[in-house]
Structure formats: structure tokens, C-alpha cells
């Protein structure tokens, strides 16, 4: 009997919650923006950071801050007093849910635009929905170059793609070979076997082929692997000079620890936008995170020098998450910031007008390394670029390109047992 009444109560509560939450509130001047990120599932860490990053943008757009040279911060709201309201959705890392959430947000919630989806595999079907409905889809950190090669009209991505990153990695290797006589001739690739990792690796291989670098190890691994012994042993056996890595979160820390255990490291180890960029993971890894390198569009250290305007925004984000902004999630902040500027310039909430402005104009973006955002046909941010950093004692030291560099590369990667 007790069980029964408990169960009844449980369902009553459930029904009540459903009823209350479906009653929507009516405010006057609001712009609804949807976000779709993985709040749960394997990519939940990054997804939750992305949500916090978008909320950061909402904070400085809706409220008044006296930040110098920061568009929209000094003004309260948008247009004549419109406030941005977020409608957040969770895609759990599943493309089918991302797709149906996109439909729901556009058609039920009536959002003006969606920002999402972190996982490239989820961004693809979700943005296809947007394109079909002729609605704006802003994409922050999904790195698959393919996304902007589809010729979409309503799709805009602020982050650098894996193609851009790979090209820069290649340039850097050439630079090292020429200037420092490092003679780096072989490449290994280790990447998670997913849309993101596979695409990054394919771009890496293209660059290697162009430069005449031998790919001696091509190692996709299972996401959430129980161990990475064979992966690292294979890498060790091939012993490439350079490794490009694409591993997220837990896999990244497992990879670093397994490398340490096997007492092996390539001369340089460069990561795509991955676990390397996540300050929380590096903090857990401690000293072991040092000497790894990666392409980044933002780091707190770069911000100190080149992007001072971004620092107050970082504090808002830090208050939400306890960590400084990272190179992935900041792109989501940029997304909303640029979109808001486009709406402001358009003067009306009209998708076609805003899209026109997004396509043609160049935006000031204090949160981007280049300070500007402009979209090429297909939606790629043509001003996006990354710098190559090296981690030392939990500080990102910029080593390339020369114009941004603040430190010399520590070369080669010091042997684990001689530290």
C-alpha cells in the first residue's frame, strides 16, 4: 500500500512539474535564442562549459557594463531595449536529438537563432534543419571543416576549422625545420574515432602529404577506452617526430598518463581543439600536462597581452564555472556577441536582414584573437586563426606565429624520466 501511494505521489509531482513548466511566461521585449549542447553524455563537460559561455554573452549584452571598446556592453539590451533570453536544450551527444531539438526550438519556442552544437556530428543535422527552415544557425566550436563546405546560407561558424589548424601546424613544422634545423620528417596521428577526430586526422594527413612528411602512424582509438596501452605502444614503435592528437577529456588524460608510463614522447606533440584546451583537465593532470602543444584561439595568457578587452568577460564566465574561458567555449560567446551585433545593425528582428549583415559586414569581436569576425560564403569566419601554444606549469605559452609569440618553444619534448 505504501509503495502504491508513493508511486501516486511521484506521478502527481511529475504531472505538476510538467504543467508548471509548460506554462510559458510572456515578457514584452525579448529575443529568444536557442542553444543546443550536450549537457549529458560523453561530451557533457564541454557542453556545459559552452552553455556557460553563451550565458556570459547574454550577461554583458543584456546588462550595462562600462567596458571600453566592447560592442554592446555599454548598452543595456539590444535595439530599443530588447533583452536576450536563452532557451537551452540538451542533445546528449546524439545527432537525432540535436535535430529534433533544433526543430522544437525554431518552431515551438520560436527562437530567432540557435547556437550549437559542440559535437560536429550533431551540428550537421541541426544546422540542416536551420537551413531548410531558413533560420540562423550559429556554430562555435565544432571544428569539422566540412560544416562550412556545404554552401549553406544560414550557417555561420566562428572557430577556426581543423583544416585551418592543420595548415598552421604544417607551417610551424616547416618553420622549425628551416629556422632551427629540427629535421622533423615523420608524423603520427592519434585521434578519437568519431566525426571530429576522423576529420581532423584527414586534414592532418592532407597537410602532411603536401609537405612531404611521412605519416608513420595513423591511430584512431575508441572513445572512452578502458586503456590506451596498444595505442601508445604502436605510436612508440613507429616513433614519429611529430604527433597530431585529437582526444577529448578523459581520453586525453588517459593518453597523457599512458605516454608518461611508457616513457615516450614525440619531439613535439600538437593537439587539435581538445582536452589540451580544457583548464580543468590540465589542472588534474598537473605537471604531466606540461610541454604538450596545441592550436588555440584563446588563452588567458594571450588575453592578458593581446585581448585585454576580453578579461572582464572572462570574470563573468569564471564566476559561473570556476575556470577561465577556454579556446573552445569562448567561440560560443563570440557567436552570440556577433549575432547580437548583427541584430543591432539590422535594426529589426528579421532573419533575412540579419543574415545579409552577417554575410557582408565585418564585426568587432574583442573575444576573438584577430579582433574581427567576418563570414565567407559557406559561413566560415575568415578572420579566424589560431596560435600554437605550449603548456608549461599550467600556463599556455604562445610560440607561433612570431607576431604573437611570447616564449621560445621548449624543444624537444623532455624525456619523462629526466624531469
Amino acid at each position: 500500500m505504501l509503495v502504491k501511494s508513493k508511486a501516486v505521489k511521484f506521478f502527481l509531482v511529475l504531472v505538476f512539474v510538467l504543467a508548471v513548466s509548460s506554462a510559458s511566461f510572456a515578457a514584452e521585449k525579448i529575443i529568444k535564442i536557442g542553444t543546443i549542447f550536450p549537457h549529458t553524455g560523453p561530451a557533457a563537460v564541454s557542453g556545459q562549459n559552452c552553455v556557460a559561455a553563451v550565458e556570459t554573452a547574454v550577461e554583458f549584452i543584456n546588462n550595462k557594463y562600462d567596458w571600453e571598446g566592447f560592442p554592446l556592453a555599454q548598452k543595456e539590451g539590444l535595439l530599443d531595449g530588447y533583452k536576450i533570453v536563452l532557451v537551452n536544450a540538451d542533445h546528449q551527444g546524439k545527432p537525432d536529438i540535436a535535430k529534433s531539438e533544433a526543430e522544437r526550438l525554431y518552431e515551438e519556442e520560436g527562437v530567432f537563432a540557435i547556437i550549437g552544437c559542440y559535437n560536429s556530428s550533431s551540428s550537421k543535422p541541426a544546422s540542416a534543419v536551420a537551413e531548410r527552415l531558413e533560420k540562423i544557425f550559429m556554430c562555435g566550436a565544432s571544428s569539422s571543416a566540412e560544416l562550412t563546405e556545404r554552401g549553406f546560407n544560414y550557417f555561420f561558424r566562428t572557430a577556426a576549422t581543423d583544416a585551418i589548424e592543420s595548415a598552421e601546424f604544417g607551417e610551424y613544422i616547416e618553420h622549425l625545420n628551416k629556422e632551427k634545423g629540427t629535421n622533423l620528417t615523420t608524423l603520427g596521428l592519434i585521434y578519437e574515432n568519431s566525426e571530429f577526430g576522423k576529420h581532423a586526422a584527414d586534414e592532418g594527413k592532407k597537410v602532411a602529404a603536401k609537405m612531404g612528411i611521412n605519416v608513420v602512424a595513423d591511430i584512431p582509438f575508441t572513445v572512452g577506452a578502458t586503456n590506451m596501452d596498444s595505442e601508445i605502444q604502436t605510436l612508440k614503435a613507429a616513433n614519429p617526430d611529430v604527433v597530431f592528437g585529437a582526444a577529448l577529456g578523459g581520453d586525453y588524460s588517459l593518453m597523457v598518463r599512458t605516454m608518461k608510463q611508457s616513457n615516450w614522447a614525440s619531439k613535439i606533440f600538437i593537439n587539435y581543439c581538445t582536452g589540451y584546451q580544457n583548464p580543468a583537465i590540465n589542472k588534474e593532470l598537473g605537471a604531466d600536462s606540461s610541454y604538450y602543444m596545441g592550436g588555440m584561439g584563446y588563452s588567458p595568457e594571450i588575453a592578458e597581452v593581446y585581448m585585454k578587452a576580453a578579461l572582464p568577460a572572462q570574470e563573468i564566465y569564471r564566476a559561473k564555472t570556476g575556470f577561465p574561458l577556454d579556446s573552445d567555449s569562448i567561440q560560443e560567446t563570440v557567436c552570440l556577441h556577433v549575432l547580437a551585433q548583427a541584430i543591432e545593425k539590422a535594426g529589426v528582428l528579421n532573419t533575412e536582414k540579419v543574415v545579409e549583415i552577417l554575410r557582408t559586414e565585418t564585426f568587432d569581436s574583442p573575444l576573438s584573437l584577430s579582433g574581427k569576425v567576418a563570414f565567407a560564403p559557406g559561413g566560415q569566419n575568415s578572420k579566424a586563426f589560431t596560435v600554437i601554444t605550449q603548456l608549461l606549469d599550467l600556463k599556455y605559452r604562445t610560440v607561433f606565429p612570431a607576431s604573437y609569440a611570447d616564449s621560445e618553444l621548449i624543444y624537444p619534448f623532455p624525456a619523462w624520466d629526466k624531469r
Binding site: 526543430e103 518552431e107 556530428s121 574515432n193 576522423k198
Partner: protein, 345 residues
Amino acid sequence: MNDKNGSFMKSKRRLIDNILWIGLIAVLAALIFIPGAIGKSTHTHVLVLVLLYASMAQSWNILGGYCGQISFGHSVFFGLGAYGAGMAMVTYGSMPWLGILAGAIIAAVTSVLLGWPCFKLRGHYFAIATFAIVEIFGRVFLIWDWIGGALGLDYPIIKDSWSYFLWSSNKTGYYTGALVLFVFIFGVVRYIESRKLGYYMRAVKEGQETAESLGVNSTKVKLTAMALSAFLAALCGAFFAQYNYRVDPPMVMSLDMSMKFVLITILGGMGTFWGPFLGAAVLIPLQEYTRTSLAFLGPGVDQMVYGLLIIFMMVRQPKGIMGFLAEFGILGRNEKKEATGDDAS
């Protein structure tokens, strides 16, 4: 209960079932013609999913429910169907129909090839073997470049049409398609339920040795059920790909997806005609609506509720919703009472 009375009850039940079944189809079909009932909305999306998952569960029910072979491998067949449609649309740029048919046939053949050795295994050994198969297929598909590997297959953006079975402006087409699929699969089950195959399958479930001794070729029955089940699951997979504009291995060939087949059927009532529909009708809306309505409580709360509901159902009434209904004497005899009566004797 004497025989005559029993058979009378049975035919009466069948009559009620038939009326309910035809009524359900009529109501669902009528929705298409009521303006505003079916369109772009989330409710339509949920309806489409209910029909799709009910169909998937029913296809699983043929093998798992009626024939008693609990398979965790159905996402493989589901995936083959999805890839059939995806390859036709994306790789060959043609209409999906031939691909769907090819996918479904390949799924049926694969199921026989896999089922033939696996049926030697009993109980949990069979279950574990089938999910090992899912893991193998999922991982091999991830590295198989011809079918798109880890990158998956993304549908091009083309005009809405029946010939490509692709819509974006509204969901009426998908709803109609899902309804056709639903009626077809449930119709197939309804048909075989009262045919020889249906009785053979239930005989095999009750006891393979007994069934054999009565002259039922149990291997043949199981393989037939498996092939049919896989063929129908593949059709559902094709629909899934068409609906989501994308296929990749984790989407379709995962243990997660396999569990959906099993879960919905068992929660609804395994081995019953209505079970898969009831399971989907409860679980899918719950899953879709709580994801948005409970989001304010923090990440994962909707799935916690989902998990608790499963626990609650299995603890309270492992025969599923059909079991609940039987407790109240709706839709079927009160089997529980009979069963307890048997136990006591």
C-alpha cells in the same frame, strides 16, 4: 474454466482486439485529415517517434516476445536498414527505395547468418552474444570508409517529396510514412499471431524440447522469426535515417539503440500484440517532454526520472503495462491470478 468457455473467451478477446486495432488505425489516420492536428509541432514529432519506436519494438517482439529469444542485437539490423537508405541517398544520390529494400534484405540475410550459430546458445549466453555482435558491427562500421566511417552520411538538402521520402517544411509526410510502417508491421504480427508460424513460435518459447517433440522444427521457426524481425527492424532503421537526415554508426548501431527495442517491448508487455505500442506510447512522450520540462532542475534529471520509471515498472509489474492492465481486467485475462494459482498447486 472449461474448454468451450475458454475458446469463447479467446474469440471474444480477438474480436475486441480487432475493434480496438481498427479503431486505433482510424483515429491515427484521421489525424492527417484534421487540419492543424499534424504539422510542424513537437507533438507531431512525438507522435512520429511513438509510431516508429512502437514499430521497432513490435519487430523485436516477433523474435523476443513471441519466440522467446531475447536479442540485444537488433540495432545491427536497424543500422543496416538505415545505411541502406543513407547509401542510396548520399553515396549514390538516388531515391532511397532500392537502398531501403537492399538494406532490409541484407539485414534479413545477416540475421540468418548470425542467428544460425547463435541459436545454439541459451538464455543469457544468447543475450551477451548478440550484444557482442552489436559491438563488432558498430566498431567495424566506424572504420569502414566506403560507408562513410566515423564521418557518417549526411543527407543533401533537396526539395520535399514523396519520391525521396524527405520533408522539412512539415511532418505530415513523415507521419503518414510512420503510420504506414506502423500499420504494416503491426499488421504482419497480427496476421502471423493466428497463423501456424505464430503458434509454432509460442511453442518454441514455451519449451524447445517439447515443441520439437510435437514435430516443430524449432531452428527453422527461430530463423524465420529472426529474418522477419530483422527485415522489419531494418525498415524502421531506414525511416530513422530519412527522418534525421543523417546516419552514423553510434546513432544506429549502439547498445543504447538495442536497449530501446528491448525496453519498450518489455515495459509495454512482451509477447503481446499491444505491448510494443503501449510501451512506446508511455516511454517516448515521457522521454521527449521531460527532457525539456525538467531541464531547469539541472542536467540529467530527465534521464534520472527515466531510469527510476524503468526500475519502478520492473519492480512493480515486470509484465509491463499489459500486466498492469490485466490486473484491472482490461485487455486480456488476468494471467497473474492464473499464474499464482498454478504456483500454489
